[in-house]
């Protein structure tokens, strides 16, 4: 059992790195949000392998490496960073890091690195800078939670299955890194997706519903379709699921914000494509987006369905104002 400590200030990045660890590696994973937390964890004996990001608040990666060196904490460190300048690589190696992996991390590279250093197991962290303050994030999380429950309930009634409700993921992410947050869908698996714009009271955004192609057989089964389903039927299933999930979740959120959303016509993003091909975001217009990701699962089935609500950056002030009453003591 290898104890792995992932240090990155972004939750998405921590999750991403953890997911990239070799599946067959026996490990216990710990997380730290910045260098100081990592040092505390290491001092407490957590972490034989440290996967370290460089740019973090409180204590950055370089300082963390210096402290590990000066305190002689016997941890093996691999740096995972978006800063891939030769200078950065040299500096971290001088400070005692075993290896350097550039972001975004993928599982092959991580496996190779851990194997190379005789650990077999290594974790990689993808970092995203989140400007959301904890209280606001918590607030969105709670709103999403309630809305998700409503959507799950509708789904359960219509499909007559038990819907496993996850904890919604709320993050302020780079639009260009959208596909990275789709945690439940394997990068190698083909997917089909629908998106739908919505707006109301100056708040606008899009809902995405992405289903892994391996889910269709089970969904058809649940819906009582006996014969093999073709592309058209798959699309119909996807469209039904998307309308249901996006519609109920949006109305759940709207109710809590005391407003109404107007939904545009859904658009098929694509069928049987990789996540990267499916989501080609409008990178020019928006740098950041508030993303609420909900990964639904159905008990007893291999159905993986990700629903993501994306709000434009300029919608956030209005939403924060509408949520202000939840933040009052």
């Amino acid at each position: 059992m290898l104890s792995v400590l992932i240090c990155d200030d972004s939750m998405v990045a921590r999750k991403q790195t953890a997911r990239c660890l070799p599946q067959d590696l026996e490990s216990q994973v710990h997380f730290a949000k910045h260098g100081q937390e990592a040092l505390d964890a290491l001092t407490a004996g957590k972490g034989q392998l440290l996967l370290l990001d460089l740019n973090m608040p409180v204590m950055d990666g370089y300082q963390t490496l210096e402290n590990i060196k000066s305190q002689a904490l016997g941890v093996k460190t691999i740096v995972i960073s978006g800063d891939i300048q030769p200078e950065a690589m040299q500096r971290v190696k001088d400070l005692g890091a075993l290896d350097f992996i550039k972001k975004p991390v993928n599982s092959e590279e991580l496996r190779a690195a851990i194997t190379r250093h005789g650990l077999f197991h290594e974790e990689e962290l993808e970092q995203e800078n989140s400007d959301l303050n904890e209280l606001v994030r918590d607030c969105y999380q709670e709103v999403a939670n309630v809305a998700m429950g409503m959507a799950g309930d509708h789904l359960a009634r219509i499909m007559n299955v038990f819907v496993q409700l996850p904890i919604p993921n709320v993050n302020l992410i780079e639009v260009s890194e959208l596909h990275m947050m789709l945690s439940d869908i394997d990068g190698s698996e083909s997917t089909s997706g629908i998106c739908q714009g919505f707006l109301g009271d100056g708040i606008s955004g899009e809902g995405l519903c992405i289903l892994s192609d391996s889910s269709f057989a089970d969904i058809a089964n649940i819906m009582g379709m006996k014969e093999d389903i073709d592309d058209h039927q798959q699309l119909e299933l996807l469209m039904d699921a998307a309308s249901l999930l996006i519609g109920t979740c949006l109305s759940g959120i709207a109710e809590q914000l005391d407003m109404k959303f107007r939904q545009g016509h859904p658009v098929v993003l694509g069928q049987h494509q990789s996540i990267q091909d499916l989501i080609k975001a409008n990178r020019n217009a928006w740098k950041k987006t508030l993303a609420i990701e909900i990964s639904y699962g159905l008990e007893g089935y291999k159905v993986k369905c990700d629903m993501i609500l994306l709000f434009t950056e300029d919608s956030m002030d209005l939403m924060n104002a509408k949520l202000a009453h939840l933040l009052e003591d």
């Binding site: 714009g197 606008s204 955004g205 899009e206 545009g264 658009v267 975001a281 987006t289």
Partner: protein, 164 residues
């Protein structure tokens, strides 16, 4: 016919009127009714959602009060045949990408900078048989416009590479 059945008919009509209005509010097409002075009479839910302007605010105001970029002389010229000849008048996105600058409905996954629009002006005949108002319908053409632009780009690229 008994008086109660007359009452029921009247009630049914009222109910029907109610959901018809609801339909106009919720249809995914912009509906604006205005008179000869370009004063707004109807501003439906689509227009409200995309512009952020409330129907109560814009009602009985000339369109140009809220949209100064839509010039009154130009619009009057455009709707003249609708009032006079009772024919429809059109604007396509190819000739003018939009009349109202609205944001693209899909701000994240679509690359269009704004909502491309097709606009139709249609005469509304009053009970007196005169045309006092025009109904303007605004269609979101963003998806069609984006695909056509992509196709054109490809054709140009193909042509250029065949020339070189």
């Amino acid at each position: 016919m008994t008086s109660s059945s007359v009452k029921n008919d009247a009630l049914d009509e009222l109910l029907e009127f109610h959901w018809m209005m609801d339909m106009i509010q919720n249809v995914d097409v912009g509906i604006v009714v205005f008179d000869r002075d370009l004063q707004v009479k109807v501003w439906n839910g689509f227009m409200e959602a995309h512009s952020g302007i409330l129907p109560t605010d814009i009602k009985n105001q000339p369109i140009s009060t809220y949209f100064p970029e839509i010039k009154a002389p130009w619009l009057k010229q455009k709707v003249k045949p609708v009032f006079e000849l009772r024919t429809r008048s059109f604007i396509t996105w190819e000739q003018r990408p939009y009349l109202f600058k609205f944001r693209n409905y899909r701000p994240i996954t679509s690359s269009a900078p704004y909502m491309y629009q097709n606009v139709v002006f249609s005469p509304l005949v009053s009970v007196m048989g005169t045309v006092d108002n025009v109904c303007m319908m605004i269609y979101d053409m963003t998806d069609a416009a984006s695909s056509k632009k992509q196709l054109l780009e490809l054709q140009v690229k193909e042509f250029e590479s065949s020339q070189s």
